[in-house]
Assembly symmetry: C2
Homo-oligomer: 293 residues x 2
Amino acid sequence: MKLIDGKKIAEDIRTEIANEVRKMIDNEIKVPHLAAVLVGEDAASQTYVTNKEKACKEVGFISSVYRYSETISEKKLLEVVEFLNNDEEIDGFIVQLPLPKHISPGKIIRAIKPEKDVDGFHPVNIGNMVLNLQGHVPATPYGIMQLIKRSGIETEGKHCVVVGRSNIVGTPVSILLSRNNKNANCTVTLCHSKTNNLKEICSSADILIAAIGKMEFIKADMVKQGAVVIDVGMHRIESSETKSGFRLKGDVAFDEVSKKCSMITPVPGGVGPMTIVGLLMNTLKAAKKEVYN
Amino acid sequence: MKLIDGKKIAEDIRTEIANEVRKMIDNEIKVPHLAAVLVGEDAASQTYVTNKEKACKEVGFISSVYRYSETISEKKLLEVVEFLNNDEEIDGFIVQLPLPKHISPGKIIRAIKPEKDVDGFHPVNIGNMVLNLQGHVPATPYGIMQLIKRSGIETEGKHCVVVGRSNIVGTPVSILLSRNNKNANCTVTLCHSKTNNLKEICSSADILIAAIGKMEFIKADMVKQGAVVIDVGMHRIESSETKSGFRLKGDVAFDEVSKKCSMITPVPGGVGPMTIVGLLMNTLKAAKKEVYN
């Protein structure tokens, strides 16, 4: 069994991006600028946005954060989006989810200019992904595709089973892996809460992607000997063994599954570090006008 | 074995649409207007557009056809699209494919206003379909969903195998059947030219959708006893047995497969009549401003 080292792969990509930024500076090209809009005080969102700022700094991007109270109106937030759409300094921006209940996330996302939607959530970006056209790809699936590519995992003709059909992970990664591209061309089965005989289907997977949001849901008896397992889950549990008082678990029962598979992503250090890298890659593409131009 | 009577279901839907149009007339609401843009002299395209006009007439829609020589420039065709986008008389329009080689179909399709794109090919419509939001659904998949619904085929939790990943049939129908909707919620496997062990995968399908474009490709040994089979193929072969001198065959070897399955669409008279019905349904929705409003 080989661990898929997401931390190392993410580092490699950040180094490549940093080198590109250095070239931009040498050529007197404006460096990429990623903005984040943060509404309210959600702790996970705060952490995530802080991590984005840190990642931007590390690769040489400019980053900025627009903070608003959770009482901001939908109308006002749409004005913020419009302002960022038109600000030529900013190459891409994200509106951190979740938003307060009185604001429709769909409405906000659809107001973002597709070329600046570096989260890849806008219907135009999703549609272009389906049609195999240029666009921004949702960050986590983009990161997973990089993990697969850079770990040398064979995909063509392989049976890939994706468990979970969320708009931000399961569904887009199922689409990406089924497209007629290098490092894709899988036969993909998309499973979800209504799937019958899940165990049987998972057991037939050459590549199993767990994006269910249930801790240690995938057990060894659901995994084929020699399969590749990608664990998108991230669950924080209390622990007396760590200094922080907690530890992370995935959607996969790592201890038992890892014995059976050929390759597996650990949690933490697997898919987790790749999401922000996906965002950085989209932002670089936006700054270089490689999409929608 | 039961035949899925696409001809009858299409008739039923056309009657329902005609009733709606009658109500619109009674309430002095403008009746739906579908326009088609036809470039060049492709025989199949001519037939298809003529059939659309006939179907429009039958349900009480206004229809119009804009014909151009195959020498029309891309720029000029984009101007036609812009004109139709802005013509308030026209609720929806299609640009008949294929287009001459000097014109990019993607560029033309992306120029159509999504709310008037009743073929459902625009990335925004595809993206909204993935995100389970309102929009125009590609006509053939929309028709297939109606066939399934109106034939009382159980879908929830069933394993559906789609063979063929085209942008206009295989890929969108695989997405539609996997969404969390009534008459959907299938576990979907999307197969294609790069799929290994296709026979084994097809044999596990409760619902098998053949959209490969290869005549009689699906044989009895690829079909599970009792499966539902939807045949999207349409191949014209010479025949001494018919008056017209030709007959139609599907992607499924009907004679042998029909003995094994519980339900099957014939060719002709199965999926075929549903495509134009899908287009009419989209046009009605567009006229009633039920999408993008």
